[in-house]
Amino acid sequence: MGKIRDLDSTLAAIADGTKLIIPADYAGVAMEATRALIRRGVKRLHLVTLPASSLQAELLIGAGCVATIETSAVGFGELGSAPRFTRAVLAGTVTLKDATCPAIHSALRAAEMGNPFGALRGIVGSDLLTVRPDWRVIDNPFAENDPIVLLPAIRPDVALFHAPLADRDGNIWVGRRRDLFTLAHASAKSVVTVEALHDGDLLADEVMAAATIPAFYIEAVALAPRGAWPLKMGDLYGEDTQHLLDYIRLAQTEEGFRRYLDDQIFRRRAA
């Protein structure tokens, strides 16, 4: 079977209970795929964000797909906070593992290298250490009386992201979105949506190859033009700010959130 598939087949690797890692908004968020996962009703995800998320984590949490989220932040930046994430944390309906951005980067890089842990400066004196008993402070063995934090490696089952281009072999061109390399390396499998298919071999062109994730990391790829909407996609299209503002307003209530799901996710499929 080739690696270029339809969206639902591509997402088959994401089963109930999967440890799923997703990128930040600037790196290419697979929103069309996220809507398909919600339609399918995936359950009990252990969601990890590299390092923060907005609408993607918010919708998955609101729709009841997430058991645990490990993140350094979920929110809409200057547009406002994430209502369903906030509500779920206050109600205790999702288990939250609070982190800080470079800790997630370090823990993924550790997995990328096959190491059991990553190290990180800072953090000492932060209450994050008290709520993350899985993070350890050790004495730097190369100095005297120098505490440093070790973080267990994060090894996701699946990475899900959106990229500009794939070729027919499943090589993925990501451009500057280098976080996607880390996601693909650290995760057992990667499933990807792309804006467009590229004719020819991305690895055969030295300029394109430099920003291409080789197909041997990639499980499956689906074509999804404007697949990051309503989030932005690099220089291809901007964020749909009005849509996000409308969402934030609606999602202040559970009923408003359900209406959003019906309008934007379930009905869109039926149409």
Partner: protein, 248 residues
Amino acid sequence: MSTIKPEEVLIDVVLRLIAGARHVAVGANSPIPAAAAFLAQLMSPDAPSVSLQQSPEHNLWTDGGRELFDSAGQGRIDVFFFSGAQIDGSGNINLNVIGEYAHPKARFPGAYGSAYLYFMVPRIILFRLEHSRRTLVEKVDFISAPGVSPPNVFRRGGPIALVTPLCHFGFDKARARFRLETIHPGHGLDEVLDNTGFAFDRPEHVPETPAPPAEMLRLLRGTVAPQLAAIYPKFAETVFGIPVAAPA
């Protein structure tokens, strides 16, 4: 020249605090720091490098989101910015929860990179657009990042200032206390005292914050505001009246 907005005063204070920096990095959701950084590029003889975490189009990063943290770890970033749901008198910031962590009364997005960058960047500038006893507190409910550290903890940076709509505080690392530097035009010491939940040092006479120079305002409104609108549409609409654009 139309009325000076409070945000414009803050941008001018920040502009002075970042003078001489080689590299100013700006995190997500930081329109005021971004405005000051863009202005520094236009106005300084040695224009600093400016990197915006949020916007690949306005940043120098080519190695992924980690490059900001890596660069800070390498000592290449001179200035960064944080806010906090709460900021306390010892410079601790809280970006996580109000109340008990296990059963919080309020929840915020999360710590972002604060628990690392607060240690690694020499000049951290704190800003908070709500100056109240609710936000500027005696002791934060949750320390996302501590204001100071014991001497054995590796730390090459930390807070140097806190900028609010009322005033500009400096931070004294040795005393782990803020010190009131200037009060913005139209505000007074009593207002600052009434609205600040933590104790702070102050000189006998607290000077007034200088008004932004006309040239700064001209560049801000004419050149920088449209740049900001592409990255912080809501801020640009509120402060500069630039309508939120439909997506391309």
